[in-house]
Each structure stands twice: as structure tokens, then as C-alpha cells.
Amino acid sequence: MEEEIQRIVAYLDGEMSPDQQSDFDKELDQRPELKELLERELALRILLKKEEEQELLKAFSQKYQELKSSGKLPEVPVELEKESESKVVPMTRWFVRIGLALAAAIALFFLLRGISQEPSMEPTQIFASNYISPEFDEVKSSMDSDSLWKKTVFALRNNSYDSARKYIHELLLDSSFADNSRAYLYLGHLEMEQENYEAAIEAYSKVDVEIQTAEWYSMLAYLALNKKNEAIKLLNRLQDYDYYKKKATQIKKNLSIP
């Protein structure tokens, strides 16, 4: 058995010649007990990787405390410093007076209209409070027989996004695949999960069945990208759908859009 394990290690570490690897691939198909051992070794490697990450995180925290206590934390570079500070605009007394007068006038306006306006929020904050990771459902249809689709859903559920992306692109090239719309929807979802918002919007734009869902997530992607105007256009449409009406109205309020 030890010899088998050494072969598995050599196989996974890429230490076999192409011919040896090809033979080993065939052997895996023929010998379930070898495949079983390989699965165990893979699980072991995943756990060791996780352990390593945990150790690194501990080492990072320790290093940070060391740097902090010895006063060796590097200074924030000037260009970033500017970005993190609120802008201080020099104001003359007149500007202050005009500003105060305007604020009072606006307050009075809303008071008179009896509107309880909610405080305006940044688009990215609204995105953060509204985005929920999408669910990747198994779809009960003829596609259930399609193993590539099953693999896609499995990969998505395991956060294996690069593989899922590859599978979806393969499906989209397959003329016999009947549900391009769902493939684009899931592609959009996986790009959202990976915070590739532009790519997500592009994928959602090709969805033609579950349009409401695609528009909802596109709107969130625009908020994440701080593209308020594009988000508002979609919010106006989403207000027409019963399911999203309430949420869309609330977001518009948060953006201070009447």
C-alpha cells in the first residue's frame, strides 16, 4: 500500500512522465481501490492547505502586533491618504452662511411637505446591505441528463468558480444545449460572487427568461460599481414587478430618489 501511496503522491505532484501519467489515469478507471486512495490523499491535501492558511493568518496577526508595538508600521502613502481623508474645503464665513441658509431652506421644504426623507446612502453601502449570494439550484428539466450542466452546478455550489465558468462557456458553445438563458444567469451570478461586476452585467444582459432576477442583480452590480444612474434606470423597471417593487422603492429612497 505504501508503494501505491508513493505513486499517488508522484502523480499529484506532477512527477510522472506523460506516459506514466496516462497509464495511471487508466488505472484509476479500472481500480476503484486506487481511486479511493487518491480521494483520501486529495482530502488530506485540502485540509493541510486549510491548516496552512490558518497558520498564516495567525502569523499575520502576530506580525501586525509586532510592527505596531515597535512603531514600525509603514505610513499610508500620500495618494492613498488623500483618498481616505474627507475633503476639507476651505470656506469663508460667507460660504458658511450661505450653506447654513440653504440647509435651513431644504429642511423647511421637507418639513412643510411632511416628507420623512431617509438619510442618503452611498451606492456601495446599499449594495452591501442588499446583496445576498445567489442560490444555484438543480434544475428539474431535460437538462438533468446533461452531465456538463450537473458538473457546472456542482462546481458553483463548491465555489469552484473557474471550473464553473469554463463549463458554462463550453455549454454556450454547444448547439444542443437548450437553456442558454439560465447559463448566462448563473454566469452572471458567479461573476457577482467573484466581484467581477462588469462581467456580471454583461452576462445578465443576455438573459431572456428570468429577466427580473437578472435585472435585480445587474442593478446591484451597478451599485457596487458606484454607477448610480444606471442602477436607477433598472430600479424604475424593477418597481413594475410585484416581487421587487418594495425593495426597489426602498433602495430609491436610500439613494434619495423620489
Binding site: L12, L42, L44, L47, L48, K49, E51, L56, S61, A128
Partner: protein, 193 residues
């Protein structure tokens, strides 16, 4: 097949040492990781100011960003198209947003993609196997095989050579480490299933 050379952005030639170091194994890799961590640790303060995070949360976001950055470098997803600082900034920004919404869905987990270098056949087996039960089973056994075994396997997974592990853990020589590693792995895999 020739390996793509490791490249830093022309504006940041100093990144090259870190990038090369992370592609090494063992102590050189660890050193490069800690250099990267230290060089950009000002992001914690930046995160506190820009995203109004507590120091603890900004630090968590930074730690996780460094981990994600290491993974990207190792998997050659980082191709030197920007400076490391800019690349890390993008990851850090997203991690901060995750901290704000307390959503850790993108946190490092048992990502199958970490095994991108294994043969295709192994990848396909990995995608089809019942990962959760396998992991639970392995975790239970890993705690049972003893600290010595676990430590040797862990340092091996981190890329340390047998000689380095021998020095680090106080073994006689690299052969001793090789024997221990073989026995530990065999004992663990035998008990599973």
C-alpha cells in the same frame, strides 16, 4: 512546455523579489510572504479611514487579502499587469466591503481551484467526490495521528524540504523525516474509508 516567466509591472520592479520568493518553497516562500505582508500593512490604517472599519476588522480584511493575493500569485493569475500594491488594493477594497456587510462568502475555503496544478483526471475525481464527508473523515483522523505526524505532513504541504523539516522539528536527518512522512501518510490513508 516552457513555464511563463514571472513578471513584475515595469513601474514596480521591487515586486519581483516578492513574486519570485512566493514561487519558491519553504523558508524562502515564507520570508517573501512576510515581506509582502509588512510592506503593505499600511492598508489596515487606510481601511480604518476609508471604510470606517474597526482596527480588528480592517486587519482581518488585510490578512485575508494577503492570502488571496498569495493564491493569485501561486496560480499565476497575477501576471504583472499592475503593481502588486494596486492588485492588493483591489482585493482589499472588496474584502472591506465584505467586512462591512459581515459576509464572508468569499473567504478562503476548501476551494477546489487551489489544486489547479493536479492532473485533469484528478481534478475530475475531485469535482465528483463527496468532498464534505471525505474532509470530515480526514479531519477526525488528522487529530488522532499525533502532533508529530501532523506537523511533518503540514510542513511538507507548505513546501519545506525534508532537510529543512529535520532542522525545524529536531530530527536526525532528512531520511528520518522521509520515513516519518511515509508512515504517517500511509497510516492516515489506511484508517480512512
Amino acid at each position: 512546455m516552457t513555464e511563463e516567466p514571472i513578471q513584475a509591472h515595469p513601474n514596480c520592479p521591487e515586486d519581483l523579489d516578492i513574486l519570485n520568493g512566493i514561487h519558491q518553497k519553504g523558508s524562502q516562500r515564507d520570508k517573501a510572504i512576510m515581506t509582502m505582508f509588512e510592506s503593505f500593512s499600511y492598508f489596515v490604517k487606510f481601511g480604518q479611514g476609508k471604510y470606517r472599519l474597526s482596527e480588528e476588522n480592517a486587519q482581518t480584511a488585510y490578512n485575508e487579502s494577503i492570502l488571496a493575493c498569495i493564491n493569485a500569485i501561486e496560480r499565476k493569475k497575477f501576471k504583472g499587469e499592475s503593481c502588486l500594491k494596486t492588485y492588493l488594493h483591489t482585493i482589499f477594497r472588496n474584502k472591506c466591503v465584505n467586512e462591512i456587510r459581515s459576509n464572508k462568502s468569499n473567504q478562503a475555503n476548501e476551494s477546489l481551484e487551489d489544486f489547479v496544478h493536479i492532473p485533469d483526471k484528478a481534478k475530475s475525481i475531485l469535482h465528483q467526490m463527496d468532498l464534505e464527508s471525505r474532509l470530515a473523515e480526514t479531519l477526525a483522523l488528522l487529530d488522532k495521528i499525533g502532533k508529530k505526524c501532523k506537523e511533518v505532513l503540514l510542513q511538507t504541504a507548505r513546501g519545506y524540504s525534508s532537510s529543512e523539516i529535520a532542522v525545524m522539528l529536531g530530527y536526525k536527518d532528512d531520511n528520518t523525516v522521509n520515513v516519518i512522512r511515509r508512515r504517517c501518510r500511509a497510516s492516515l490513508l489506511k484508517q480512512m474509508g
